[in-house]
């Protein structure tokens, strides 16, 4: 089988190239680990100053969860604020409390405000309201940012690295003249594309399994559905990245030009894949998401991992992804006509 000869050769080349294997497997693991620590870090402890607060009030303030400093004059507190030693300070003007915030980091500002709202004594007239009972359809109160972003990022990193490696290796095949040499042999054009899809497909299966298993079992990413579905989605996504990478490599003359596709093709997908809430994107732009493969993969991954969806729920997304893949395969074969008509 001629296709198998190609598959064997691609795998052999990959195995020889230890650095590329490292990039494909360890780079996503490293990045996911870093994201895990960034997102699941400890809660921020705001640094708050109290300016000339009456003792009676100061006693009532619950200082837990913040680093509280007392100031006698506002000038000193302001200096401290300007030197970024404080995130905000509380002062009493007449009878009304006022807050001055540093304000350059929205997440710090948010944490400061949240603390202040809880810490300030409740006005006595507030009647005791029975505590709200909360139940979750999906997820739980300990689901963090990482669990929500995780599935999308998992898909993104596999997409990104497979796109890059497949694109560059096909580009190299073109620039070293081996593609021309292949076309001077009785190999058919579809056999070349098939060889690449199967060769890299086999490798991507291993890569996806390792990365997904690491994210779920080591980093403890939330996992409500079946592992096999996650793997299936990632595999089809990787195939799409592979065929798109090969296709775009035809329009690059060297490795640097291949890199130039990253900000044009790869990065925008992140914005439209659901990492950020799609409903808040301007309406005239939101249609773009329907043309990005990552959008469908991210949705399916989140459905399985966060919402525990079964095959029936993700089937349509899988079909659309497979459709992208077939479209790119067809375009690849068409582009190869540039080198040999038959």
């Amino acid at each position: 089988m001629r296709v198998m000869a190609l598959v064997k050769r691609i795998l052999r080349q990959l195995v020889r190239d230890k650095r590329t294997i490292g990039l494909l497997i360890f780079a996503p693991i490293l990045v996911l680990t870093m994201l895990y620590f960034v997102f699941n870090g400890e809660d921020y402890i705001p640094k708050i100053g109290l300016v000339d607060v009456p003792e009676m009030l100061a006693d009532q303030i619950n200082t837990e969860g913040a680093q509280v400093t007392f100031f006698e004059t506002e000038t000193k507190a302001k200096e401290s604020l300007a030197a970024q030693e404080l995130d905000g300070y509380l002062k009493i003007e007449g009878n009304t409390p006022a807050i001055v915030l540093e304000g350059s980091d929205p997440s710090v500002t948010g944490a400061t405000m949240k603390w202040l709202q809880n810490a300030l004594p409740k006005p006595p007239q507030a009647v005791d309201i029975p505590e709200l009972e909360v139940t979750y359809l999906h997820g739980s109160s300990d689901m963090g940012q990482f669990d929500y972003f995780g599935p999308v990022l998992l898909g993104f990193f596999v997409f990104f690295f497979v796109f890059l490696i497949a694109g560059v290796s096909f580009l190299r095949e073109r620039t070293t003249g081996t593609l021309e040499r292949l076309l001077a042999s009785p190999l058919r054009k579809w056999e070349i594309v098939a060889g690449y899809v199967i060769g890299f497909g086999l490798f991507t299966t291993i890569q996806s399994t390792i990365i997904t298993a690491y994210a779920i079992y080591v980093l403890g990413m939330v996992m409500e559905g079946a592992f096999i579905y996650v793997l299936l989605i990632i595999l089809i996504l990787a195939m799409t990245a592979l065929t798109l990478g090969i296709l775009l490599s035809s329009f690059a003359h060297n490795e640097l030009q291949m890199m130039q596709f990253i900000p044009i093709v790869v990065v925008p997908q992140v914005f439209f894949s659901g990492l950020f809430n799609l409903e808040t994107i301007a309406e005239w732009l939101s249609w773009i998401s329907y043309f990005t493969p990552l959008y469908y993969a991210a949705e399916a991954l989140r459905d399985v991992m966060v919402r525990g969806a079964g095959f029936g729920d993700i089937m349509i997304n899988l079909f659309i992804l497979a459709g992208f893949c077939l479209l790119f395969i067809g375009m690849n074969i068409a582009v190869l006509r540039k080198y040999r008509k038959i």
Partner: protein
Amino acid sequence: MNKSEVCVSVRNVSKSFGKHQVLKGINLDIYEGEIFGLLGPSGAGKTTLVKELAGLDEPTEGENYLFQQRMPSLDLIRRIGYMAQSDALYEELSAKENLQFFAELYGLKGEKRMERISKVMELVQLSGDMTKLVSNYSGGMKRRLSLAIALLHEPELLILDEPTVGIDPVLRKSIWKAFTDLKAEGKTLIVTTHVMDEADKCDRLGLIRDGKLIAVGTPAELKKETNSSTIEEAFLVFGGEER
């Protein structure tokens, strides 16, 4: 020379890339069992012509026939051994792995494959470097390995684009010996070159300049016709230059 069968027939072939015309109305017959040299300066259109014969390109006008069938055709490609100007080799793999890969593409299996691989490597005198990675090969070794790959599937027609570039005189001599051996087996060889002394070793020559075939004939004929003592002088006369 036995001028029995026409192996390659180039009929009124022109080729343009955009406005730039690379080949201009070329008519040429190459016979079975001869070594035909395409001689001309770089940029003359030699590579474009041999690429068309190898099925990698198509003429804008005219037709190319191989074995009385029109190119390009996958069945014909099987009968050609092509060696490109650049060494199309996988540098991460060893010479043997490169050979195995290309052998499989041509459907060579098992014992036959092993036999062909050792035969062609012997021919290009690389038997001792079989397991070396191609990235550790010198330029001349890569050139010879490319030639070995072109010979693997015992093609009837060999199209070799600058086969002896970067090869030292001793090896060049042994490679030309291999060419004459192949010719003795009844194979047809098309060799492009811009080295004039190699031209003398060809059975017949086609002189190409600026996309035009300016003369065809045996080296002796060409020299006689122009009253020259060397092919180089003959080339200049045909090219319309003063001697």
